[in-house]
Symmetry: C2
Subunit: 213 residues, 2 copies
DNA sequence: ATCTGATTTCAGAAGTTTTTGAAATCTCGG
DNA sequence: CCGAGATTTCAAAAACTTCTGAAATCAGAT
């Protein structure tokens, strides 16, 4: 569903001076042919995880690089700074900065301070149920709730004052809006409970259901 | 999150002859300013529903026009043919054809035959829980399952034969993959039950949970 | 077979989203 | 207050997705 394969870009920043990074770590390989970088089994497994997570993200409307950054932080399980992320994923500084801020807004990633280091470090939520609940919460707020509001609007629009529509048709129309509204509202309320307390709710509910069905 | 406002396009097809359509129905209005077309309360309400549904779709990775076509069929609640859809939504024949096929593949829309009419008509699933279960089913197959397989791969990659990685690190890494895998697998199995029987399962489960939590 | 209207296909156009990278801004230490 | 490094911003570029429309294909009627 897409290829990939970006080109390397210049790392030097603003000032003219050369920034003597501790040893510019060779890049990862993208897919086949040439391999560079540390290619231990562990590293290759991480790479696989990252790219599959990125893939999944992009089919769910999450920018690939956002999903990849998150995957990297999750799978490394330790705080990383922007430079490390840039090097590892081969994406630009601006992109990393913007994306980290968004992930932090969603609450999926936390900014941590490293003693005696001016850089910002970031680490990902490690509890998967917590992670899922954060995602659900964010999408619910950004997408489900506005849609519910819109459905209410559509409903009130339909029952406007004097007009020339067939009352039968109006009734059927409103019934359709209502059934959609009901279903989504139920999911909405349900997700409230699910995410009620730090993801544990989701976990519990899922176990519960699994046994009941 | 986007504008819209496409231009009208030529309706005439292949042959040179003029296709005398029964009266090219004026176009809908996009948002504000000029209004054309039938503007009854009912019509405006439908329009609102369609565009909000389209909006939502596009933030979930569904092409706007696909979401709109589905919304139109759902809210009209009757079989419609390609020409009606083109006129109403102002989208091209090719787009309509391709999209209808996809919706039909997902099972969200059904092709129905109208006696004595060579055209194909399409109608949308009217039961919302059924609809949701069809959507869940499709996404599960197309996205969740491949991801689960990929996680398994990543896991086996990590425990490859003789290599230089710290055994501690490998253990931690595998634990992470496992926790992700477990959570997603549980969701996966759960959705199986949910959609087990034509959407009713989903409905029942949701009611059940709502009362339990 | 042929004709006619409906449908599908697909290359290119249009539109949208994502990414880049360099300049602006911020922040801390001295 | 200045300098050095870190971060943010944002206009422009690249990449990707979706859409168009004309030509090809298909299918029923004659």
């Amino acid at each position: 569903m897409a290829s990939g394969c970006r080109v390397r870009y210049d790392l030097s920043v603003t000032e003219t001076a050369s920034s003597p990074l501790p040893a510019p770590q060779p890049t990862r390989s993208e897919a086949s042919s040439d391999r560079v970088g540390s290619n231990s089994a562990l590293q290759r497994s991480r790479e696989a995880f990252i790219s599959h997570w990125g893939e999944m993200g992009s089919s769910w409307g999450v920018p690939r690089s956002m999903a990849e950054i998150h995957a990297l932080l999750f799978i490394e399980g330790r705080p990383m700074n922007a430079d490390e992320i840039m090097d590892r994923l081969q994406i630009s500084r601006g992109n990393v900065s913007t994306t980290l801020r968004q992930l932090a807004d969603w609450g999926i990633v936390t900014r941590v301070r490293q003693r005696g280091d001016r850089k910002d470090y970031f680490e990902a939520e490690q509890d998967v149920w917590n992670l899922l609940s954060l995602i659900v919460r964010a999408r619910k707020r950004r997408e489900l709730e506005p849609l519910l509001a819109a459905l209410e609007d559509a409903k009130s629009l339909a029952s406007a004052p004097g007009d020339s529509d067939d009352p039968k048709a109006i009734k059927a129309h409103i019934a359709r809006l209502d059934s959609m509204n009901d279903a989504l509202k139920r999911l909405d309320r349900l997700s409230d409970r699910f995410i009620g307390r730090g993801g544990r709710g989701l976990d519990v509910a899922v176990r519960l259901l699994a046994s009941l069905l």
